[in-house]
Amino acid sequence: MATTAAPAPGQTPTAGGSYAAGEQTGIWSWLATVDHKRIGTLYLWTALSFFIVGGIEAFIIRLQLMRPNGQVVSAEVYNQLFTMHGTTMVFLVIMPLSAAFFNYLIPLQIGARDVAFPRLNAFSYWVYLFGGVFMTIPIFFGAAPNGGWFGYAPLTTMQFSGGLNIDFWVIGLQILGISSLAAAFNFITTIINMRAPGMTLMRMPIFTWMSFIVQFLLILAFPAITIALVFLQFDRFFGTQFYEIAAGADPLLWQHLFWVFGHPEVYILILPAFGLASEILPTFSKKPLFGYNVMVYSGIMIGFLGFGVWAHHMFAVGMGATADTIFSMATMLIGIPTGVKIFNWIATMWGGQIRFTVAMKFAIALVALFTIGGISGVMHSSPPTDLQQTDTYFIVAHFHYVLFGGSIMGIMGGIYFYYPKMTGRYMSEKIGNWHFWLFFIGMNLTFFPMHFSGMLGMPRRIYSYDVGQGWETFNFQSTIGVMIQGLGLILFVYNFLKSKKTGAVAPGDAWGAGTLEWSIPSPPPEYNFAQLPVVTSRYPLWDLKHPEMTAGLAHSGPDAMTVTDSHATPMHEETEYKNAADLGIPMPFPTIKPLFTALFLVLMFSGLLFIHLDLFPVALTIMIGCAAAFVGSLYGWLTSPLE
């Protein structure tokens, strides 16, 4: 890596914002970065920005529903708001927030210097950023997607949705799929092949394990929606008949293909948060995770069964008794490994010396709130019950308990937990406490009443409602809850920004945790590990510093280790910042090529919009031009040396 003047070796830079010795700063260093930590940071910032956008959308939706017959926004804008709220939160917030942690943590947790394909990693981020912007911009012009986050066809075909709105959605999702797929191939390879000596699969931290499973869900689930979206694009732009009922098409084709993707997607959203909770709970209980093996196997079970339950989203369409029974049973079955995880977390805390930090509170909140969401999920795994609940606010309550109570709470815990590792400074625990309690109370006040309004028959996605149906109180409560959450979000943003400059300085091992990422300085130097450590158990750092805590765990004997391997040294703690060049560690060159490759790809897709506008020559010019530029920059990228 081309470095600027490096400080003397061994010099410890001041924590907080100042990056490790020898690293470049400035805008160019971010545009051309291939460092997994910087890419993780980019993901984090971008996804949090979209979180604010999605939050504002939710806030306007709730304002509209605060009172009966609300008139805050028009019905058309309302449709765009709920569509974009769902799409944003799923594809632009929770998945990329998870990706931020994949990027930042996986190499650190397995003892690697980077991911397997650093430039592909940068490409994934840029595709995500451009795709996200592509999808988000139209809402400022009142032309945002308006067909629901699941875009059911034939509703989304030209006949019923003639505007550009759905085009942004269908093209945008296609673009985001490319980003997720590219990242998934990268992480699968990284986890299989880049582990430090002695880091066997069954010694990997649970976050890495859950991420590993998620990558497989991604590569096997995304092709289904890719094809469903291709059909929809072809229907909209080239006049095919995949969703044309008059031509004999089946209205359920989209639903099935979408949910073949959509249900694994649910686990894609939740498993990383489970992983983060599984890192936080042992650390602040000062106990190894209870039932590690069972945790891993139940994660695999969830992932595997996740492909056999999709049709439970469609009980109401009338698939017949056999199909309903099979999918109902599979759904109930999947509750078992999930329940096992809940009990393991509780058992991890049992008898531990618990420290109630903000991160710990978020993790415990995940356990509690996800349980509520899980139980309401098991309720509608039964088709007769589901028929009452489907498309009501009960479902909205369920999946917000799972996605907010589960994913967001876990990710927030993860942010508080890993902030010191990323920046070298702690976030304020005082403000963090306020944030936590505002989120926790606000979240329950928002979503718990939705169970009742749903049971009373309030339909999802409804623009306004009349008085006298018993929904007024619950809706009012929900809106107040969102306001409380909004306050919490403001405090979080303030804390996040301010602590980077003024937070208490954190040492490498900021919380007394046991996994590899805490054995190196905070923030980590560009090369992560000056010497690859040899791992002999699941909590190598506790082995080193608190051997009594891991006495009960299996360790490999010294003879079984690969200590003789010239690449590695016994487990140790690194505190010094050095220069990669001084250490003789080859680092990948920064390069702008992935950014341009991503840009041309996104521009190529956006050319499709002009077909809709009947500007066929323009569309053709843009698409062929950008395809050529894409292939050209791809060749340029692949033929230039990595390091």
Binding site: A196, I219, A221, V230, G239, T240, F242, G248, H567, T569
Partner: protein, 249 residues
């Protein structure tokens, strides 16, 4: 660590591409793992396409149909086979799928896989002197350029067959817009064709590298191997398509 760096440096000089050898936990190549994961993912992509074709089989309300004989006169209402029973032979349309032609293109694609493995074998054994008394065939087997080009040419031939097929379908009145069969057939085979096209470009790129500097050594074997894996996968997808779409009614 110093030893590791020294070793890595030594290896990289031996390879001659300035690539440093990194520690890996399995000893396998990163790119090969990624390609296999990609192929696993592609299985789902084609599964979605093939499922859709099969789901929509026999649901087109207007002809032309793939196999079944349809009434020219009452095509619009001839939704089911039963309705077709009363047609007079003069009213029927021929099934549109051309088995003899597609059998030829299938054969070409299968043989391209043979050429591909021979290309890989030629790169793997490059540098080994030919045995004494080696004939023209042994020399031919040792030429990676020949087999890479042969694979690319056969792939291009397959694409030629496909464009002939598509063109003749359009002449017979079947476009991507005509009916569900047209939409699902052209999309499925078109996706496969796009994969073949990408493969041909990939092969031509390898051929160009081979001409320019000669493919040789471990890194280049990997380069050809991952392309070969992709190419064979595209081939096995066609094996499935040929049976499921063309032969089984």
């Amino acid at each position: 660590m110093a030893t590791a760096v020294a070793t890595a440096g030594h290896d990289s000089h031996a390879e001659g591409h300035g690539e440093h050898v990194h520690y890996t936990s399995t000893g396998l190549e990163n790119r090969k793992i990624a390609v296999w994961a990609f192929i696993g993912s592609e299985c789902m992509l084609f599964a979605s396409l093939i499922s859709t074709y099969l789901i929509y089989k026999g649901r087109s309300r207007v002809g032309p149909w793939p196999h079944e004989w349809g009434c020219k006169t009452s095509a619009a209402v001839a939704k089911t086979r039963e309705l077709l029973q009363g047609c007079s032979p003069a009213d029927v349309m021929k099934p549109i799928l051309d088995i003899p032609v597609t059998s030829q293109s299938t054969f070409v694609l299968l043989m391209s896989s043979l050429a591909m493995v021979l290309a890989l074998a030629a790169v793997e054994t490059k540098g080994t002197p030919l045995p004494a008394g080696a004939g023209w065939w042994d020399r031919c087997l040792a030429s990676s350029k020949f087999w890479l080009m042969a694979t690319a040419v056969m792939g291009a031939t397959f694409l030629g067959y496909q464009s002939y097929e598509f063109t003749s379908f359009v002449h017979e009145g079947l476009t991507i817009k005509t009916n569900l069969f047209g939409s699902s057939f052209f999309t499925l085979t078109g996706f496969h064709g796009a994969h073949v096209t990408a493969g041909v470009l990939w092969l031509l790129t390898l051929f160009a590298i081979d001409v320019k500097r000669g493919l040789k050594g471990k890194t280049d074997v990997l380069l050809v191997d991952i392309c070969a894996l992709y190419w064979h996968f595209v081939d096995v997808v066609w094996i499935a398509i040929f049976t499921l779409i063309y032969l089984i009614q």
